[in-house]
């Protein structure tokens, strides 16, 4: 079969400036790709009178995926190499031939000259956090991917590492999502290493007035101006990321989109994915301002006395009972009645647990047993799912089917197989809720 010359095709930038870097390849020359498999990418720079991609303008990329399966032959001029493959310096010319594709026998090739595009953007914690080493690399508090022509629904995933693996996939660049969904669609993943999104925090962000955010920042500044141990450089980075996480309102954020047909601004996410893993046993509540922090304790290990002292003096820890979490989830759903929610339940079994009978355990042990708490939280979700707009992604059942010892061997981290099964279930639930593009 005749080879197809793959061109970049147009991008709808109208009067905006658009430059690209050289291509970086994700496959070897001669690789046989699947239809819609990402094989190469480049960095983009969009400039012009509009303030598009404001905080994401340094980490905007597009990945190229041939529409049909076949053998990929690289075009020799597409990748000059070195920093020119990392920094946008070339005009985006629709006619640029970047590869040739030898389609597999029997594959229909109509319209196969232009690839499908997977757009990617990362919002850095700070502009100085530059890392152009790969696809969506860097220290980002939010990454996202979108594809398809036009504007589809947006799925926002707010959580910790378990959701990151589920949503971003093995390549950490959303290729798994891209191959499953027809689009147009967008997937957004928040990455707050300091403040972990949970129901209480999402709700407080959703409803917080701007002057309340200013009060949090003022309170922080006043504390450290009052003397005491000076924060270290690492402390400043930590609290900067903390304030960043507290001050955002993830459910209210809008998104700039670049597609073949134009640049547009998408409304806030219509579908929210939240994991029960993000619900820590203890939260910190600010004693005076009342806002809540949810942090993983291991993140505190490197802190100096200044920030430790601030956390100890300004916040009170409180235990989150199942009823507390249920109340937070219900309040979040009620505060966003126009959104669809998918809640990921907890995998209740633990590889190290071996309880033959709960009858012999005392009350204190019962109250703090990992598996029982997880099962109670999972039951709580079923109560919630009786209402509208809520679906449960039953990770517990999927893990049990596959085998917890094999697919959650350390009790925390899932295998790619388990995450892939969960991803497929997530799509089924989104489709059941009528979320367009998925």
């Amino acid at each position: 079969m005749t080879a197809i010359r793959l061109t970049l095709g147009p991008l709808g930038v109208a009067d905006l400036g658009l430059e690209r870097s050289g291509l970086r390849w994700l496959c070897s020359d001669g690789y046989i790709c699947r239809a819609n498999e990402v094989v190469a990418y480049c960095d983009l720079s969009v400039t012009g009178p509009l303030d598009v991609f404001g905080e994401e303008r340094f980490d905007l990329q597009v990945a190229l995926a041939p529409r049909v399966a076949g053998r990929v032959r690289r075009a020799g001029t597409a990748s000059p190499g070195g920093l020119l493959d990392r920094v946008p310096r070339f005009p985006w010319s629709p006619e640029t031939v970047w590869a040739e594709l030898e389609p597999l026998a029997g594959v229909a090739t109509d319209g196969a000259e232009e690839p499908n595009l997977l757009f990617l953007a990362g919002r850095r914690f700070n502009n100085i956090a530059e890392d152009r080493s790969g696809l969506l690399t860097g220290w980002h508090d939010r990454t996202r991917a979108w594809w398809g022509d036009g504007q589809g629904a947006t799925l926002l995933a707010a959580g910790a590492c378990d959701l990151s693996g589920l949503i971003r996939g093995d390549d950490a660049a959303y290729a798994g999502m891209f191959e499953l969904a027809r689009g147009p669609a967008q997937v957004v993943m928040t990455h707050s290493e300091v403040v972990i999104p949970c129901a209480a925090i999402l709700r407080q962000q959703l409803l917080r007035a701007p002057d309340a955010t200013a009060a949090i920042q003022r309170d922080f500044a006043e504390h450290f101006q009052a003397g005491g141990d000076p924060p270290t450089a690492a402390d400043w980075l930590f609290v900067g990321a903390l304030l960043n996480g507290v001050g955002r309102s993830l459910l209210n954020e809008r998104y700039d989109l670049l597609t073949r047909s134009g640049v547009s601004r998408a409304p806030p996410a219509s579908a929210i994915c939240l994991s029960l893993i993000g619900e820590s046993h203890y939260l910190l509540r600010h004693r005076r301002l009342g806002y809540v922090l949810n942090m993983f304790a291991y993140r505190l290990e490197g802190l100096g006395p200044a920030v430790r002292g601030w956390l100890r003096e300004a916040f009170e820890p409180y235990f989150q009972g199942v009823d507390d979490i249920a109340r937070d989830y219900a309040a979040l759903v009620a505060a966003a009645p126009d959104r669809s929610f998918v809640f990921v339940n907890r995998i209740s079994a633990h590889p190290n647990e071996n309880i033959q009978s709960y009858d012999l355990l005392d009350a204190e042990t019962i109250a703090h047993t990992h598996g029982l708490r997880n099962q109670e939280l999972n039951l709580m979700l079923h109560d919630l799912a009786r209402g509208p707009n809520v679906e449960i992604l039953d990770a517990d059942a999927i893990a049990a089917d596959l085998g917890v010892m094999d697919h959650l061997p350390d009790g925390v981290h899932a295998t790619g197989v388990l995450l892939r099964e969960m991803r497929g279930e997530l799509f089924r639930l989104l489709r059941a809720q009528g979320v367009s593009g998925f």
């Binding site: 802190l303 009978s357 990992h370």
Partner: protein, 120 residues
């Protein structure tokens, strides 16, 4: 008859296991359901890294016995199969090698609670 409580064989050979809490002391009659040890189990082998797979395993007796000798201290690093404590069925049974393992159950406990207070 003497019995032994030993460190369970956790899922990964690289586990770093330490004694976090000893619930009862020598010479005490331990009822069925008595918590005896809390072990911190770090399946990353104790190496500092992100998202550490650390859990707390509580060893609970499934049979009544007398705790004759606790063989470890809080904070001690222990290995699978190591003896944590010796027990006897009768309170005054003369010392002898343990005839078998004590019947125990292993419950995984919420872990982060302790860390909050220690580290914040």
């Amino acid at each position: 008859m003497w019995l032994a409580i030993t460190v369970p064989s956790f899922n990964l050979a690289t586990a770093d296991v330490r004694v976090a809490r000893i619930h009862i002391g020598d010479g005490v009659r331990a009822a069925r359901g008595q918590a005896v040890f809390d072990l911190t189990v770090d399946l990353s082998g104790g190496a500092a890294r992100e998202c550490p797979p650390v859990s707390t395993c509580r060893i609970v007796l499934r049979e009544e016995a007398w705790l004759r000798r606790v063989c470890v201290e809080v904070g001690a690093k222990v290995t699978p199969g190591q003896t944590l404590a010796l027990l006897s069925i009768e309170p005054d049974a003369p010392t002898e090698p343990p005839a078998r393992e004590a019947r125990v159950t292993a419950a995984t406990m919420l872990h982060q609670a302790d860390l909050w207070f220690r580290q914040a």
